[in-house]
Symmetry: C2
């Protein structure tokens, strides 16, 4: 929006009496800019103050005040005979505050030309539902009301009351040593492997973890196998590390090294989620695990094990992580706390193979922004004092119940529309179109329609990098109370009926 | 460290009585791993439990307990006639805890082969000084004792006691609205420009800000002008956005668009630090500012204005930021709080041109990890309640005094060794080799030698991307008390004498 001009412009000046800024300041600022931009050339003579005042419909004193100011700043020169002229040499020492309303300064029609890679992403954008707080069914959203925030707040207060220099100032590039200790113990108890706390890097997310690791072990342009489908954020993370991601379609046993080798034998890194594939929930079978490790060992390649939500498992015993079976140090292990505690936390970690610890310490500062130390010591206490384990026990029960409620509600409301299969773990389910509507089901269109009705789902097809995409909806149930599940599933059914 | 074997291994089993883990569990876990790794092939018959017990010097019951467990898990099969054999088909459901000491599992001689781009960074690594807390002269380190941590801790506690859903859960990709409001007001008062709070993106650092912006406005492979010398972290940030950075040597007036056009006329983005160049402290002259903006406007290109430490200015009035002079919305503005408050904070921001706000909102989730919300509301209060302004007033005086003390100490101790020039702003000075020693001065070698004596400096040559590098040392004085300055400068002089 342009400011509405009060009068026709004199020297390009348009005054606006509705602005809080005084008129003399408006004159000042617009004249200054005109001079800086050479619209008023050096030595140009200004109209008389009387004439300017008349044209601008303001008091002559207002114009004089502006001129005085600009003479003092060196933009204008007052000469007795010829009135006021623009200075020949401009002051290099412009004052700080030539106020310009940036919002007013460009025309909305002048939209920028965006590169193809940005436009491609725009086409995938999903607006948030029209409701303020979408309880059903955001993916990756833990139950915020289950988290003990008052306790967390106290731990934070304690953390920052008198922080040590090595925390507030010269902190280790891998993060707070206390948190790295706590994570190492936690991994031993929960995932059955020990690692040196020194091998743990605290990061801002899975993306930073994956990007950092790929950046360190691969040359630009080298090849990485990723799972197809998979978490789209990890593809972008690998692109940031300037490596080439080759999608390898998974089957019911998960990722296949054999198939991967047939697609891209030159790969030097594999990025997999063995305990619980995203988004399908597939568990990588033991023979496949061993095959992958054998490949890494034989070819001295690397594996990134994304163990992002192995904590939520409701049936059966989990398989051992790859990291446990890794005898020669080829596996980097990633996990995140943001999905376990609350999304705004943004604390994740990467367990390096021991042989890369020293290298990573040395190059970290050059290639990656370290994570904020805020919350790291608090999280260390939260883990060490058993609050994490208690929180996981509580939410595991809660989420298991919600998964069952979602399946039951789907049976009641979505029969003949969507098939919802149970999953032994995780925080979301996949709903696939029933065969009667599968032919013309468009998950992205359904997602947009559902958002307009206040139901947040995610399209399965967006998890595919290649052109062969399965259709379906991801329904995150972890933060959705059971009563809400019932009505949201009913709403979803209505959306599907009207959408056809 | 390998566990000390109590006995010669049977089937590769070595028991360790000093371990907290029960002996039967140790047998279990080692047998399981031997089976998984096919060291014990399918159908292999195990020795009798009696024989194993004798060899392992443990009770037969211990061996039987282990065998029972593995039979139950499906690794072993108990056959009446032929005793116990390894299962033909392995269970897919391995239990969680086959404990392996990863530190013991690879040979330290087996160091990984690193890519060239990582080895190149390793060569630039500077170990920290041998002292725990290097007060002199880390670059970019504010005075940690000047910051009101108890107040900060209280603000954090308040922030997280009962966070709203839109903070803890479904937060805006650009960060906390309250912080973005506070920054918008602060910029109006301190830097003389207004921007819509909606145009402000909270990021984890200058690197993320620069990388995000380049990623959005440029195609992969397009060209960006950067200043030579400049901040090395920004080069890596641009590489993450997959754009090509062309270093443009600056002169006494700063960055020259004319020179840049002669080097790379195809560039579509310029990344400059106009108020106070890093590391040289040069101020971009007004005609150069206008030339750069004219180029951006004419060619519909973009400018990133890195305003990272404009807050510290001790002499003269600052020039108006490019953003103030930008009439057509081509300038993105970056700054960071980590250098103003404390390094561990990792909160920075990017002010987008208005025309890119909506696009960035839509693609942000796909391309960038958002900053942690921790501390954002606390910082908003810190700014809004005037604590930031008060802190800057205090530290401005403090740092101005320290710069003078450093110059005075350099005159006393470093005459004929290093020439230290004053700077009208910033948090560090550049010390250049005196002409008598300039010929064989190696700033990287001096940096390493100084670190061994407890003095942390940074080599100027590392700020150059090209092969023509100036030699010098960066001396950060902001966190160095005056008494410490005196002795550290004396130490540095000794280092230089012995180094020659």
């Amino acid at each position: 929006m342009k400011p509405r001009p009060r009068k026709a412009p004199v020297l390009g000046i348009a005054l606006d009496g509705t602005q809080p800024k005084a008129l003399y300041q408006q004159i000042c600022q617009q004249l200054r800019l005109a001079i800086l931009e050479r619209r008023l050339a050096p030595d140009t003579r200004l109209p008389s103050s009387r004439m300017m005042a008349a044209e601008l419909h303001c008091a002559r004193g207002t114009v004089l005040a502006a001129i005085d100011q600009l003479v003092a700043e060196g933009y204008l020169v007052a000469r007795s005979a010829s009135g006021v002229t623009v200075a020949t040499t401009l002051p290099d020492d412009t004052p700080t505050a030539p106020f310009v309303d940036v919002r007013a300064s460009h025309c909305p029609a002048d939209l920028p030309i965006l590169p193809e890679r940005t436009r491609a992403l725009l086409g995938r954008h999903i607006p948030l539902p029209t409701r303020d707080i979408p309880l059903a069914f955001p993916v990756g959203q833990p139950d915020h009301s289950a988290f003990p925030f008052p306790l967390w707040a106290k731990l934070l207060e304690k953390e920052w009351r008198r922080p040590a220099w090595h925390i507030a100032g010269a902190s280790h590039p891998f993060g707070d040593p206390a948190l790295r200790e706590a994570i190492a113990s936690y991994l031993g108890a929960a995932r059955g492997f020990t690692c040196a706390p020194e091998a743990i890097v605290i990061t801002t997310g899975l993306q930073q973890s994956a990007s950092l690791f790929a950046r360190i072990v691969l040359e630009a342009g080298e090849t990485v196998w990723i799972e197809e489908p998979g978490y789209p954020g990890l593809r972008e993370a690998l692109a940031m590390a300037r490596v080439r991601a080759i999608p390898v379609p998974i089957d019911e046993y998960g990722f296949s090294t054999e198939k991967a080798l047939s697609l891209a034998p030159e790969a030097r890194l594999a990025l997999v989620a063995p305990s619980h594939h995203y988004p399908l929930g597939t568990v990588l079978s033991l023979p496949r695990r061993l095959a992958l490790l054998n490949w890494a060992e034989r070819t001295k390649s690397w594996v990134i094990e994304d163990d992002f939500d192995s904590e939520y498992r409701y049936a059966g015993r989990p398989l051992a992580p790859l990291r446990v079976l890794d005898r020669t140090g080829r596996v980097a292990y990633l996990a995140s706390f943001s999905k376990l505690l609350f999304q705004a936390l943004r604390l994740s970690f990467l367990v390096l193979p021991d042989s890369l610890v020293e290298t990573t310490e040395r190059v970290m500062a050059s290639i990656s922004t370290r994570a904020s130390l805020l919350g790291q010591a608090a999280l260390a206490r939260f883990i060490a004092d058993g609050h994490l384990a208690a929180h996981l026990r509580r939410t595991r029960l809660l989420y298991a119940g919600r998964q069952q409620a979602l399946i039951a509600a789907a049976r009641r409301h979505l029969a003949g529309q969507l098939d919802v299969e149970p999953d032994a773990g995780g925080m979301h389910l996949i709903a696939r179109p029933h065969r009667s509507i599968a032919a013309d089901f468009d998950d992205f269109a359904v997602t947009l329609a559902a958002a307009r009705k206040g139901v947040q789902v995610a399209p399965l097809s967006h998890c595919y990098a290649g052109s062969a995409k399965a259709q379906g909806l991801l329904l995150g149930y972890a933060c959705t109370p059971e009563a809400e599940i019932e009505s949201a599933v009913a709403n979803l059914s209505t959306v599907l009926k009207h959408h056809r």
